[in-house]
């Protein structure tokens, strides 16, 4: 297993997440895609850390995971509030900031 295999997998996961983020309308799915992108990046961090024999990448992974956890908490709270107020989970309905 070489570095490139990990990187290719990471890239594929990231692309799935990014494309899903753009095309999905359900806010839960959008969140899942977001997490997928974060974890794709995490994967490449760990791969590089292993490859370069340095610990920096692994530290970054912890940071990313903490941020992701916080973001998930806030994001789910927003989702609940959105559902209570608008009675919808469709992300396109939350467009009151339209210019």
């Amino acid at each position: 297993m070489e570095l490139s295999h990990y990187l290719i997998l990471s890239m594929l996961l990231f692309l799935v997440g990014a494309v899903g983020f753009i095309i999905k309308k359900n806010i839960i799915s959008v969140f899942l895609c977001l997490e997928l992108m974060l974890n794709a990046v995490n994967l490449s961090f760990v791969a590089f850390a292993r490859h370069l024999d340095q610990v920096h990448g692994q530290i970054f992974v912890f940071l990313v995971m903490v941020v992701a956890a916080a973001e998930a908490a806030v994001g789910l709270a927003i989702t609940i509030v959105l559902f209570r107020n608008r009675n919808t989970l469709n992300i396109d309905d939350a467009d009151s900031m339209k210019g």
Partner: protein, 646 residues
Amino acid sequence: MTDSLWLIPLFPLAGAAINGLAGRRLPKSAISIIACGASGLSFIVALLSFFDLLKLAPEQRQVLKFCFTWIASGDFVATVEFLLDPLSAIMILVVTGVGFIIHLYSIGYMHAEDGYYRFFSYLNLFLFSMLILVMASNFLLMFVGWEGVGLCSYLLIGYYFDRRSAGDAGKKAFIVNRIGDIGFVLGIFLIFMTFHSMNFGDVFRQIAEGAVRFPLEASAGILTAISLLLFVGATGKSAQIPLYVWLPDAMEGPTPVSALIHAATMVTAGVYMVVRCSPIFSRAPLTLNVVMIIGILTALMAATIGLVQRDIKRVLAYSTVSQLGYMFVAAGVGAFSASIFHLMTHAFFKALLFLGAGSVIHAMGGEQDLMRMGGLRKHTPITFWTMLIAALAISGIFPLAGFFSKDEILWSAWSRGHQVVWIAAFVTAGLTAFYMFRLIFLAFCGSARHSAETSRHVHESPASMTGPLVVLGILSIVGGFVGLPAWLGANRFFHFLEPSLALARHPEAEEFSHSAELVFAALSIAVALIGIYFAYRLYIRRPDAAAALAQRWSSIHRLLFRKYYVDELYDAAIVNPTLRFSTSILWKRADAGVIDGAVNGTGKAVQGLASILRNVQNGLIRSYAAWILLGVVAMLLYFYFFRGIA
């Protein structure tokens, strides 16, 4: 009390502030007490200061009271410093004294008016500004007072602001005065450039002592320029040709205002300024001639207009313009003290005439047309007798105040070799007597020409109005005795003023015997009596003769009645072209076209750009994410291809 000079203007300022800020919630009695108290206290302090000044030796009679430095920038220093010398002492006493009397009168006259507090606040503010003007010890501070009285004049002319004519008259006064002020300001600039000082003392001492730096011949140019510019300012403020047109219109203001501002005090500011600057004027022979000619022309012209006017206040307004012309004649022939003397006596009898006219208007329920008055003598005896005294005084009948001051001016003109001016002034004196007694006869004598309803209403004014009339009447009788001419004893007024005029250049007056003076005094009384006799013939003996005369000389009558068409001329030559230019070019092109266009154009451009950019801001989170992704990809490609990072 000379240490407390600053109290004199402070009291009216405090009165103006209290009445102006809180007057709306105060009862009328409180407003009256504050306003009259302020002017009265100011008068008391002025009197005490005057007596302190008298205690000093004549050559030491110049008290300077420094208050604070107003502006200090390089060698330019302007201080707030008050000057008390014989000249300013006379002005202060006239301003506060007559001002106080007119404040008292206003209580009765204005009792039923709206905006009572506004009136008294303005009136106090006027007193403050006028006192700053006459007490200033430098040109800049004097200019502050000069503009202050102009502002108060504008506010008070437009006091009945719901009347269009009053608003227009206020604007006219303000704008015409601005034209004169340009000259005054330029004169001050030139003084500072030449002498590097604004102080009266410094400037005049440099002129008087610096014979080397300013020999008469070499300096005549600059001194003539300065004095001419200053005189332009004086023609605006003191209503002389060509800027006199605002004063008759200023009669739109309440009558006490006409008496105080447009007869007794403010309009004499120009005369005061010329006399104060006598060290400059007396060394500029050309300017003196200009002053004299403008003065005599104004005196004669205004007197002829006054002959035929029907509005009682307008007659008095033209009379004021005419008498101001007299004062300038005196200054122009170099008799500065005679000028101030006439200023003082004129303040008494002209204020009295205006207040009397106010009492008449009050009695008639607002009627100002002389042709609809008549027979008021038995209804308003106090007003009649006091106005008769004032009319005799202004006509120059011995021994009332006007006789001494007017005779002094006539005599100065003759004895200094201006015979033509003397003849014109002599004729003016006759005309003055005629139009004053025409006014008296039309208003008080003969049969009543007003409606029966008005007749029932006619009544003498309350004591608060007749009291001031009596006081001013007494002053009009005795006011002249301070300046008895040489043939009746020492001229104390002249000697009192001497220290203030010490730096002026005095031409050698020819010596005349006292008997010659006596003859001229008799002549000036005679011409006044002739004027009175003609008025008597035309308006008492044969009341229809005046109308017949006007019919016979209808073109001249119309010319005089329409005031020589000067207003029409100014309208056609200056006002309307300016209005047209302003409307078509400045307003519709420059303002609406260029300036509004630029502002609106900027707004339109931003709006147009924004309408394109707002499409990006569509509120769809997915599209924002797509843009971010595109951006990241674009950046990566950029770095990959152009910066060589692989």
